[in-house]
Symmetry: D2
Subunit: 437 residues, 4 copies
């Protein structure tokens, strides 16, 4: 049966198409900067938002109207797998991502829960084989169930920690079984509500211990996925430990984990932390830690994670600019950790939203590639920093300079001349690149 | 002559005093938790806000009415020194802090600028000797002059970098001359306005180079001050590299500078970065990097650095709680990096404001000491995390546990029981401690 | 049976009590500024947070452990009524508030839903009679059900509007039946997600129409409650029409509804709109529109409605200051629109939280009353604005002045002298009042 | 002499031009939706940012390098007039705007200040005649000088109020002399720092009195400009009374001033208040109060007024959409209340920035016109709200419905069907319109 019978396969029809069920920019086989769009973008569907979630918010019940609504339990789980692959294929999306609890319901015991998971994993594996769709990453949901009320890897309760560890173990096994390219940790409950009842040091030490056990177990079973940590500053917790990229990097450095982890960055998490998404990408790629992207966009006038599908072309262009400068996204991809608005509750909206996001990223890729090809920003930067290529600047960069030698130079170098940073002109040029094909 | 002739010496008169020019809580010789208040709090006056600034804001000119207003140039600088020490003595504040340009004006050349500085430093030294007031820290202002428009240690212009280095060199010499306990770096222009014209990696590498040169030179001249970096996320720059404590720690770790630097934390900078001040203190003391405090408070409904004098007793209590848990502030102190409101433009307001802040911190110290003495939060925390003291919890903490052993435990441990975190009750108890003497 | 068997009656024991189940400041019969605390504060329990909600958040399931958890449907609804009155009596809270859907579940049809409501209303009425507890206000929940996805009074769907109208009609009947002192409208879905699909004018016209119909019907059935609108700027909707007090007042003025409505102000809604709570009170009482208060507090470092129990004594004092200056809260009250933290999931926490909030307001009342009695702020204000009591100032206030007469005055009045606003000193005095009994 | 000798006249060269000193979209004589671009956009240069300001910020001195830097006093003022008109002509901008103190310095007395003003006004008048450039609006700067520390129209000091009134009187005379189309009030100091020393009611009453006097005097001298109030929520003041459009409308309604005032809306002020710019425009035009626009853009990750030149095409399109739906901007215009970044300190940057902004608005106009021509959003809206055109919906809108009639309808109308709001699809279509010419 079809779960999206009203929706055709989505094909590329070009920028002028008025067909709502067609791509205007995403042309998987088109080559940009030496690779196909498919290879560059490595799109993934987020199972939780697109298959599992229903549009509930803190003040309202779910609104989603889905063809699988009448089902429940394992029947519902199975139907969602079929729906997922129908959607993936129709949208030409090559990857998907999931939390363990997205794909199968909890049972009365952990054993039963794992059995449920195994059943669905088998079915998913068949679908993957049949369609060629692959698993970008999986993860364990260690934040929804009440047991995680005080955290999972950072809980105050050793029993909860043990449960979380068991869940990670199973997650690694599932990842291996399905050939996941990455394994993600997002610590929605790894933080605190108030410092006055919190032992922050023990919590962070324990979190590092969990990561080390995960590495050891992955090595033990031969699961060679890239481990990723996904920063988010707050929500649901008042303060989450993986606040942003820099904080997470400090953690990895402190606990000696930098060699085995990269970051999974999310646009809306960046803005919640007070950063642009491109800032988080820049910081992360400077450390060689750019792992994967959760593509969405937030509303900077709102203070929570709106997880909107990304349509802002400025943001997608600057994102792809950083990705291209990074030499690509590696084993990571662009996962639509985005949800249709609560008012967009029809099944068609799932397609409209993905099309909007995929086109926004495809256009961003094209614009970024041309900006780089024409060295628009690169030449500006080369000119701006040219003084560090020779003379006193070269002494500084090469380590020859001292405070004394620099003082001596400065004493006779008067006046100093600076040049404009030309920000407004660069933004105007950016607009020109955005608007021209 | 007296610069504050209307203001008497400020003495401790107790909580019920109605004398505006008296301390209600700060009693320098009173002993709390084994040390005098003077030793605990190590208050400092910030020269820039209290002696130099005049109340200008982005939309208005200075309003301050000062007895030295008719002076200019070096005469003004000298008068301010005298006024500063009159104020320090009257307020019984044992320390002060300054930027080079606060105390002496720039000349036409760097050489002349340094001569101006030397002249004032000599005068300050005499006053320090005469009064016993000491220098908590000094620093170089590398953000006000137009030459730093694109940064100092992170400028794109090697000539500017050389100038900044010369300024740091002189700053270290001045610090040594005056026996400064610390030397501070605050990077107000060390960041970027837009990534599209910025070479972030070179800028950060250069910043680390400047820090290394500073360490080398301090060692060379035998200046044994503690080096401090002061995080701030933004303002004046769109994005500053030392965004918050964690980001700064990541930087220190990455560049191998963690052994020679600590942090100077500021309350308003914390909230601008999305953190409470106590969060920044907790993170920093976990890394053993708590250096010194810039005491003020922000208005969390405003998005800029309001630098208000600290009067919120919740905040001062939680700050002193972290300081006490840290075993004190070491060579650092509590510097009032705070300015009277633009509407509080009379000289008396400088005293009212410092009294308000000093009393708020003194009261905070007393409350924090009693909270710790009574183990209010400590006992709660010990109970909450007790499961990590034995059994499976001890296995986790001691490194014996593996994912497999934890899974085995979790499989038979059903159901899991959590206990309330009792946040509301703890806050009610906090109020009781705050209100009772 | 008892639903809170571990919790005794809560009595006043004074500030030094170490009994967690006792009031430290709230002494209902104690007289402050000529009225008992009970009369001043008119506390109310919010049914939704305290009886109905379970601690779910956008990333997690409910955590609350309640003695009525095993029940469902109407049995659950009945048990909650009993529990509510046990809690109200034990806490000595004289009022409660509810949405229609808090107290009784929806049925398959509106008719059945109303029957459910009637059944519970009858039971509540008996309990009210037996205990003397009264209904501060009731309201209709027109935001949770999916039908309200695009709004209720501002929906684009006339069928939904009709349903909402029917719900309001029933709400007014229920209010009359139970003798509610007020009837509240909170428009959680009355706003828009994006302007590009929204007819703002029609939506606002329709909202005013609904209010007018409500007035007419209340008059028709002789329900003489005060109508209240509760502003909130956002959440769940991207932009809500009743953004803040001023916006709501503009609406009431524009549609000629100012004589029949007052405002129900909430602390956390104020801060979400960028205002302090006392600002919203001041603006509202200037218009004679202060109706009632939803007492809670937000976390200004978070961007959503955290609805914490109010414990900040600065805020409760300034709130009660405005209430006292208003001559009291009239037919309104202080409703704890506050929820225990998700981690405070035990039944006892409901009591700890209310005690914390009631004590914070009782202390705030006492401090505010003394501030007013001593004319601390009043005298300052009288002095500051004295120039408008005579001469040119009196001409201005009395309407005699013109631009020409003022220019003539200004031409010869040189220089102008201002005086300090003394903000820091006033804050220090505020701290003194807060700390002394 | 030329003040911008390196800059040629700026001509339209089309989207593909690589000439930095050319328009890519702004073609003054090109006709869009029945009017020329010049008539639609009515651009204005803001004298203060472009001629007077120098790039200072709270932590740094001015950086601007201008050919008039060596001048001071009235010589400087005269040079700036010449520079202004050279810039206006080269940029083909038909209007300009100023505060009194932008164009001429204060003297020692108000009389001398006014003489300075008269001198410059005469010179400006000649330039206007010679060039055809017109004055969009003028205003009085009642926020920079220390005398306004506690406000102007809302000061606590009647002498200051009188001074402000005199300044407004002169402003109206100057406006009449120069044929200003509008006269603006922006209340940067009309607000409060803390409520505890503020008489809000007197302050607002006095502000209304000042507005009434201004109306009377304008009528008296036959100055028929449109009066405008410009909302801003905060900065420099902690809370400004004209917080946003709705608040300002509430004020105008309350004081009976709605017939004589319209609003001057600014993009960055909108976002500081938590609104999109298009929201402020929509609210304002619903009340028939759209007066004029201050075009700029803020950085929503920063909490202060960055006043950047507008380059975001989404924003300019949605702005022009509201303007076109309003039937145009009337006597108002699009004033670039925007400043070059502090790092863009060269004279050429003034041109780059205006070109960037003018092109962004011109492109926005074109896209908005096509969206309206194709009824993209209009048809969606018509469909969405169709239920109010007939049956029960028509009863509601026409005033026939009552709660009882709607209840009767709702009782038999089960289930209710809603339709998706299609937000994602609309955003994708918006992108298509943006990208296609």
């Amino acid at each position: 049966m079809s779960y999206f019978s009203s929706v055709p396969n989505i094909d590329y029809e070009g920028a002028a198409s008025t067909n709502a069920f067609a791509f205007k920019h995403y042309n998987p086989d088109a080559v940009v900067a030496g690779k196909t769009m498919r290879e560059h973008l490595r799109f993934a569907v987020a199972y939780w938002h697109t298959l599992t979630a229903g549009g509930a918010d803190p003040f309202g019940a779910g609104t989603a109207v889905r063809s699988w609504d009448r089902l429940s339990g394992m029947d519902l789980a199975k139907a969602r797998v079929e729906a997922a692959f129908e959607l993936l294929v129709k949208l030409k999306v090559p990857y998907f991502c999931f939390h363990d609890r997205d794909i199968a319901p909890e049972g009365d015991t952990l054993r039963e829960t794992n059995r449920n998971l195994d059943t669905i994993v088998d079915i998913i594996k068949e679908h993957m084989k049949a369609t060629g769709v692959k698993l970008l990453w999986n993860t364990a949901n260690m934040f929804t169930h009440p047991r995680f009320v005080h955290g999972a890897g950072t809980t105050n309760n050793a029993d909860v920690y043990a449960y979380a560890a068991a869940q990670v173990k199973k997650g690694l096994e599932v990842g291996k079984e399905l050939g996941a390219e990455n394994y993600v940790f997002w610590g929605g409950r790894e933080g605190y509500e108030t410092l006055i009842n919190t032992d922050m040091r023990l919590e962070l030490d324990n979190l590092a211990r969990l990561y080390r056990m995960a590495i050891e177990y992955a090595d033990e079973i031969g699961f060679d996925a890239q481990f990723l940590i996904e920063p988010k500053p707050k929500e649901p917790t008042k303060h989450q430990y993986d606040f942003d990229a820099a904080t997470t990097i400090a953690f990895l450095q402190h606990y000696g984990l930098k060699d085995r982890f990269k970051l999974n960055l999310e646009a809306n998490h960046a803005t919640l932390a007070g950063h642009t998404f491109e800032h988080e990408l820049r910081v992360t790629r400077m450390h060689g830690l750019l792992g994967s992207l959760d593509a969405n966009q937030g509303d900077t006038l709102l203070g929570w994670d709106t997880d909107e599908f990304p349509t802002d072309l400025y943001a997608t262009t600057l994102t792809m600019y950083e990705v291209l400068q990074n030499g690509g996204i590696g084993r990571g991809g662009i996962n639509f950790d985005a949800k249709v608005r609560r008012g967009s509750f029809e099944a068609e909206d799932l397609f409209h939203a993905h099309i909007a996001g995929m086109d926004a990223y495809a256009k961003g890729l094209k614009v970024a590639a041309r900006l780089i090809e024409d060295r628009v920003f690169e030449d500006t930067i080369a000119r701006r920093y040219a003084s560090f290529k020779e003379g006193i600047g070269l002494d500084i960069v090469s380590g020859k300079a001292t405070l004394a030698s620099l003082e001596q130079y400065a004493m006779q170098n008067n006046p100093i001349r600076n040049a404009s940073g030309r920000q407004e002109q660069l933004k105007a040029i950016f607009n020109q690149y955005l608007l021209s094909e």
